[in-house]
């Protein structure tokens, strides 16, 4: 088993791949909530990816990656036996896990992947875990069985009603609260817009809420400041101060704007890669 070798890879949703990667040190150290920075090739960019699972005995970590740009597209074309150029981590502060009582773990789309180890840890220490998985449509739901295995109750919501209950993540939370359940904490990980509206709702309901942010970053060790986010009016670096923050304090609109900074470049990079004219690397 070579360093950073892809040991297994499978498609678990449209454009969503699960990779099992050999990274013994990261595997041994990682705790829920942490991420790694990966480079696919020489000349490749450094991309932050959350850790969905780990098997320290086997020395592996599991990454779940959606194809969104050049690097993730290139990664999706790698096969078992290929290696990643670098995997640095685990980075970021681990999730604060405690016995809150009853918690909702709300995962939107690919956000379910980083939510998995957190849910597992919360469940393990005796929280009553109600997991809420949300997607636009049934085919976009991931890790349903894995999440069910670490939850006391699993609720599925789809925008189009193709599976579970028809509605958004916020509808799901209301549903659970309205049936009289006393919720002590919400963990919400998903697209920024989902985390924004979940946080607005839970603020109104007075339920403390933790979100995990995935802004643009380069080094992941506090050096570049590209991942800065405004939390409670203060600038924080997601890589060293986060990636998890109090959802009620995060400026999500700013986060969404900052995530869009390189959209044109991302298109150029994919076109360049697809045209096969990579020079020099």
């Amino acid at each position: 088993m070579r360093m950073y070798e892809i040991l297994a890879k499978d498609l678990i949703g449209p454009d969503v791949q699960r990779y099992v990667i050999s990274a013994p040190e990261v595997s041994r150290r990682r705790r829920p909530g942490q991420f790694v920075i990966v480079r696919i090739c020489e000349g490749g960019e450094r991309i932050p990816l959350t850790i969905a699972d780990a098997d320290p005995g086997a020395g592996t970590i599991t990454l779940i990656v959606q194809t969104v740009g050049k690097s993730t597209l290139q990664m999706s074309r790698l096969r078992p036996g290929d290696t990643l150029t670098d995997v640095a981590g685990p980075l970021g502060r681990p999730t604060h896990i405690e016995k809150f009582g009853t918690v909702i773990c709300c995962g939107g789309g690919i956000g379910t992947a980083p939510l998995h180890p957190i849910t597992q840890a919360l469940h393990q220490i005796g929280n009553k875990v109600i997991t809420l998985l949300c997607a636009r449509t049934a085919g976009l739901l991931i890790m349903v069985d894995e999440m069910a295995a670490v939850s006391d109750e699993l609720v599925i919501m789809t925008d189009d009603g193709s599976r579970g209950i028809k509605g958004l993540s916020t509808d799901g939370i209301r549903l659970i609260v309205d049936r009289g359940e006393r919720i002590d904490h919400v963990f919400a990980i998903g697209p920024p817009v989902m985390m924004k509206f979940v946080s607005l709702l839970t603020k109104e309901l007075g339920i403390p809420t933790t979100v995990s942010l995935n802004p643009i970053m380069i080094d992941g060790t506090g050096m570049c400041g590209g991942c800065r986010v405004t939390v409670g009016g203060e600038t924080k670096f997601a890589c060293v101060d986060g990636p998890e923050f109090d959802g009620h304090e995060v400026d999500f609109d700013e986060l969404m704007r900052r995530l869009s900074a390189y959209r044109e470049n991302e298109k150029t990079a994919v076109e360049h890669y697809e045209s096969g004219c990579r020079l020099g690397h």
């Binding site: 040190e25 150290r29 490749g44 640095a88 060790t221 506090g222 050096m223 590209g226 700013e254 390189y262």
Partner: protein
Amino acid sequence: MDAKERLAIPPQPMPEQEPRERIHNQREVPLGYTPEAAMREASRCVRCKRPFCTEGCPVGIDIPGFLDAVERGDFAEGIRIIKKRNVLPAVCGRVCPQEVQCQLACTVGKFQHDPTKSVGIGKIERFLADWERENGVVEIPRKAAPTGRRIAVVGSGPAGLTVAGDMILLGHSVTVFEALHKPGGVLVYGIPEFRLPKAIVQREADYLKSLGVEFRMSTVVGRTYPMEEVLEDFDAVFVGSGAGLPKFMGVPGENLLGVFSANEYLTRANLMKAYEFPASDTPIYKGRKVITVGGGNVAMDCARTALRMGAERSLIVYRRSEAELPARIEEVHHAREEGVEFHLLQAPLELMGDDRGWVRGMRIEKMGLGEPDSSGRRRPVPIQGSDFVEEVDSVLVAIGNSPNPLIHSSFPQIEVNRWGGIVANEATGQTSVKGVFAGGDIVLGAATVILAMGQGRIAAQAMHAYLLTGRWDDLEQAVSAQGGTQ
């Protein structure tokens, strides 16, 4: 030649790429000496009885010694003399602030009341390092017999590389841990290609590898590898993790799109080679009118990089005056030649954005100079009602860095000062934890490559004494008992 004849020789200029040409490429600006020019420049040294230049060098290079060798055309001897004290001559010859160190102390410059007329020590140092490399005659110094001791170096910047180089020659086994994917620290992510070609840094690291130093890239001590375990696995540790946390101004609008820390901008350009995008994968935002805030070397690097990324105008906004610019004279000169506009005695008040969140303007206040502050420099004082708005589409914040918190936050037993810098004994580099030494910007705050190297050298000597004697509480005495300098 007598001293009078030597003093009559004019300084030998080093040819440079033309400003108009060089702002369109990443190649090095000064082109280097020919052997003849180097020999002639070396012959300007008047051979003072007391070598003030060596006293002005943080690592104590025998400068008259190597100048003498160069004058005789014995370049191999010249580089040998430098390498006794300096493991990174190709780097130092390029980025050391010689004008405030060896060349400030040089008698030739003093005699002519003009430090710019001092012997070009740095230029000759660079010549020797390049000569050695280009002629493929890199000598591997003799290593001491293996001691069986293992040391860890955290961070592969100038301080860490110096410790690694010294300790391997003293017979210890050395492993360097680097968080990023390439060795060199600030030499690869910060200092631009046109000032320090990355191939040179890589060769310096390869040289250390050839001596037997092991490099472990993408390994974040404090995360991948906790300090406690590093201490169990190694007999001593040197922490040179650098000043890695960018400071921001704290003005409204700083998180607008198009606003970057110097670290981010330079890392994209240098480490990630964004100037080759899309052939390399990392993009960089190409502002048309770029304002860099700050007046140090890093600010000059940003302003000059912006020109090379296609900016039509590149401005420096600095709150003090020309005299207080912390950047090297040469960097300011190069920036001016390339068309960087200096807006001195000005300070940003706020950044304004458009409806999509991109920066479009900077409100700037003019400053006057008041009484000297604690740094001895005259304090900038805002001039009421002087503010105006400058249009801009990219802002680079180059006002310094704080020490990287990763080691301390995961290893709180190591003592830090109120800025978060690791507290280390000046004479030995010892920290509050037995067996752990520290140096470079994690101790100094943002300083220079050569000061970091000087601290690395001091720490290496003390570490060596510690490994041989086991003494810690009176390590300083143990070091001097060994003769202090190697």
